[in-house]
C-alpha cells in the first residue's frame, strides 16, 4: 500500500523533472530573467547609497534575487496544475487508485526541485561574482530558507490553480498581488530600515509573508541588512509554509476534474 503511494509520488516527481528538462525556453527564461536583475540592477546601482542599507548593493540584492527566482518558478509549477486541467491530464491522475495527498506531495516535490535548481544556479553565480557569505552555518540556513520558500510558493500556486478556471486571471494575480508583495518584501531595496518611508508602508510590510523569507535569506546568507534574527524569521516562515501547504492541499483535494 505504502509502496504504491511512494511509487506514485516518485512518478509525479519524475514527470515534473522530464517536463522541466525538456522545455528549454522555460529554463532559459526563468534563469536569465533573475540574472538580468542581478547584473543590471547590481552593476547599475553599484556604489549607490540607499537609505537604510549598509555595505555593497550587490550583497543586499543577491538574496532578494534568489528569492525571486524560487518564488516565480515554484508558483509556476503550482499553477501548471491548471494546464493539466485544461488538457484533461488531471482526470487521468485523479482516477488512479492513489490518494490525493500523494498526488500533491509528488507534484510539490517536483515543483520545489525545479525551483531549487534555479535558486541554486543564481546563488552559485552570486557567490562567483563576489557576494560575501557570512558563514557555512549561514549558508546551510540559507538553503533551508530556500526550501521553505519553494514549498510555500508551490502551495500558493496550488490554491490559485484550484480556484481558477483558466489563465486569464493569472496575469492579474501576478500584477496585483505578487509584484506588490515582491517590491514590499525588501528584496531590491530596504524598507523597514529606511526612515524616509512612511509608517503605514512599513507597517503593511510586516503583514507581507515574503518579507520574512527575504529577510531570513539575507540574514543567513550575508549576515547584514536583516531586520530580524534569522532564527526568528525561520520560525515565522515555517508557520507560513505549513499554513500555505495545508491550504493548497485542502483546495486541491476539493477540486474536481
Amino acid at each position: 500500500m505504502l509502496g504504491a503511494e511512494l511509487q506514485a509520488i516518485y512518478v509525479m516527481w519524475l514527470r515534473e523533472m522530464k517536463r522541466f528538462s525538456r522545455s528549454k525556453s522555460r529554463i532559459v527564461a526563468i534563469i536569465v530573467q533573475p540574472l538580468f536583475f542581478l547584473f543590471i540592477l547590481g552593476t547599475g546601482l553599484s556604489g549607490a547609497v540607499l537609505p537604510g542599507m549598509t555595505g555593497e548593493y550587490i550583497d543586499f540584492l543577491a538574496p532578494g534575487i534568489v528569492a525571486m527566482a524560487i518564488l516565480f518558478s515554484s508558483m509556476f509549477t503550482g499553477i501548471s496544475v491548471l494546464w493539466d486541467k485544461q488538457f484533461g491530464f488531471l482526470q487521468e491522475v485523479l482516477v488512479a487508485p492513489i490518494s490525493r495527498l500523494s498526488i500533491i506531495i509528488g507534484r510539490t516535490l517536483g515543483g520545489a526541485t525545479t525551483a531549487l535548481i534555479q535558486g541554486f544556479i543564481i546563488l552559485i553565480i552570486a557567490i562567483f561574482i563576489g557576494v560575501k557569505i557570512s558563514s557555512i552555518a549561514g549558508l546551510i540556513l540559507t538553503i533551508i530558507f530556500m526550501v521553505l520558500l519553494a514549498f510555500t510558493a508551490v502551495g500558493f500556486g496550488l490554491i490559485l490553480a484550484s480556484k481558477m478556471r483558466d489563465f486569464q486571471g493569472f496575469q492579474i494575480i501576478i500584477n496585483l498581488i505578487i509584484l506588490p508583495l515582491f517590491f514590499l518584501s525588501s528584496a531590491i531595496f530596504p524598507i523597514q530600515t529606511n526612515e524616509k518611508i512612511p509608517d503605514f508602508i512599513i507597517n503593511a510590510s510586516f503583514a507581507n509573508p515574503l518579507f520574512y523569507m527575504v529577510d531570513g535569506l539575507r540574514g543567513s546568507l550575508t549576515g547584514i541588512n536583516a531586520k530580524f534574527d534569522p532564527l526568528i524569521n525561520l520560525v515565522i516562515v515555517f508557520v507560513i509554509c505549513a499554513f500555505m501547504m495545508s491550504l493548497g492541499t485542502y483546495f486541491f483535494s476539493k477540486s474536481e476534474a
Partner: protein, 328 residues
C-alpha cells in the same frame, strides 16, 4: 455475473438533473453501449461510475465494489478513456504508459512486458518513442485505449471513443475495441451517439435521453421490437392516412417524424400494396415509399419520438467552439 450494477443513480447540478434514476446492469465480458444524444447524461454517468463525481442519490457497484464507499477498490478495477484526450503531450507514448503503470503500482518487470503488449495490441510499437504532441488524433485514441488496458482492468470505460475521427480511423478503433474484448476478456462500457457504432460493437445497449434510461436490451431484441421491416413513406396528408391505417392489425409501430411516416411490420414487402390500396381508396397520393430492415435509428425514434441525427449540427458547432477554445 454483473460487473456494473446501478440502482436509481441520480446526479443533480443545482436545479438541473443530468442523470435521473438510472438503473441498469452490465454483464461480465460483454460490450455494453450507452446510446443517446449529446447532453443525455452519458458522460455524467461515466464520471459517477469512475468515482470522479459523487452521485446525488442512488447507488452503483462496479466489479463488486461500491462507488461511494469503496472508491479506491473501484479505481483499481477500472480503466477509462475520456472523451477529451488526457495524455501528457510533452512525454512520449511509452512514457505516458510508464507513468500510468507506476500510478497503478505495477512492478518493473510487469511494466516492461505490459507496455510492449498493449503497444502491440494497438499497433503503436514504432511510434512509442515519439512525443505525443506529434501524434494524430487516431494515434492518441489508440494510445489511450492501450493505457486504459495497462493494469488489466476488469472493466474499461470508453466515453465516445471515436468522436471527431474520420471514417477509416473509426473502423480501426472499432477493431481494436473488439480485439481487446476478445483477447483480454475485458468488459467494456462505452457511450456513443453514433448508431452504427453501437450497432457494430455492442451486444446490449441502453438508450438514454434527457437523463433517463428508456430501455436496455440486446440490439437484436430492440430491433425486433420495432418490427421485422420498416416502411417509410410520405404523402400529401399524413394525418388522414394514419387515421385510416392505424386500425390495421399488422401494424406493430407507427411514428411520424418530419414529413415521413414510419411503419413497423412483419413481411413488409406484402404490406406495401395494402398501404397503397388504402391510400388510393381514401383519395390520398403517396409521394414515396421504401422498405428496409430496422436499424437502431428506428429503435431510437420509437423510444424517444425523435431522430438522433437532429443533434448533429449542434454537435458540429460545439466541437468547433471547443477546438477554438483549446487552440488558444
Amino acid at each position: 455475473m454483473d460487473i456494473i450494477k446501478t440502482e436509481k443513480l441520480t446526479k443533480k447540478f443545482n436545479n438541473f438533473t443530468a442523470v435521473d434514476n438510472v438503473s441498469f446492469t452490465v454483464k461480465q465480458g460483454e460490450i455494453f453501449g450507452f446510446l443517446g444524444p449529446n447532453g443525455a447524461g452519458k458522460t455524467t454517468t461515466i464520471k459517477m461510475l469512475t468515482t470522479l463525481l459523487n452521485p446525488t442519490d442512488g447507488f452503483a457497484e462496479v466489479a463488486g465494489f461500491n462507488i461511494i464507499t469503496q472508491r479506491d477498490e473501484v479505481r483499481k478495477k477500472i480503466g477509462i478513456v475520456f472523451q477529451e484526450p488526457a495524455l501528457d503531450n510533452q512525454l512520449t507514448g511509452k512514457e505516458n504508459l510508464d507513468f500510468h503503470a507506476r500510478m497503478y503500482g505495477l512492478d518493473k518487470k510487469n511494466r516492461k512486458n505490459r507496455i510492449n503488449e498493449v503497444l502491440k495490441l494497438v499497433d503503436l510499437e514504432e511510434k512509442k518513442d515519439v512525443f505525443v504532441i506529434n501524434y494524430s488524433g487516431g494515434m492518441k485514441r489508440r494510445l489511450e485505449i492501450a493505457r486504459g488496458l495497462m493494469h488489466h482492468p476488469t472493466v474499461l470505460f470508453l466515453d465516445e471513443p471515436t468522436l471527431g475521427l474520420d471514417a477509416q480511423t473509426r473502423r480501426a478503433i472499432w477493431e481494436y475495441i473488439k480485439k481487446m474484448n476478445k483477447e483480454e476478456g475485458t468488459t467494456i462500457f462505452l457511450t456513443t451517439h453514433y448508431m452504427d457504432e453501437a450497432d457494430y460493437l455492442c451486444k446490449r445497449i441502453g438508450i438514454i435521453d434527457q437523463g433517463k434510461i428508456l430501455t436496455s436490451d440486446t440490439t437484436s431484441n430492440l430491433k425486433n421490437s420495432v418490427g421485422n421491416d420498416v416502411i417509410t413513406l410520405s404523402c400529401d396528408d399524413l394525418e388522414l392516412l394514419i387515421i385510416r391505417i392505424q386500425k390495421e392489425p399488422w401494424i406493430k409501430n407507427l411514428k411520424i417524424h418530419d414529413s415521413f411516416l414510419t411503419i413497423g411490420a412483419e413481411k413488409g414487402e406484402e404490406k406495401i400494396p395494402v398501404i397503397i390500396e388504402i391510400a388510393r381508396s381514401t383519395g390520398l397520393k403517396i409521394k414515396s415509399i421504401s422498405l428496409r430492415k430496422p436499424t437502431l435509428d428506428d429503435v431510437f425514434l420509437s423510444f424517444t419520438g425523435k431522430n438522433i441525427r437532429i443533434e448533429e449540427p449542434e454537435q458540429m458547432f460545439k466541437k468547433m467552439v471547443r477546438r477554438r477554445f483549446r487552440g488558444r
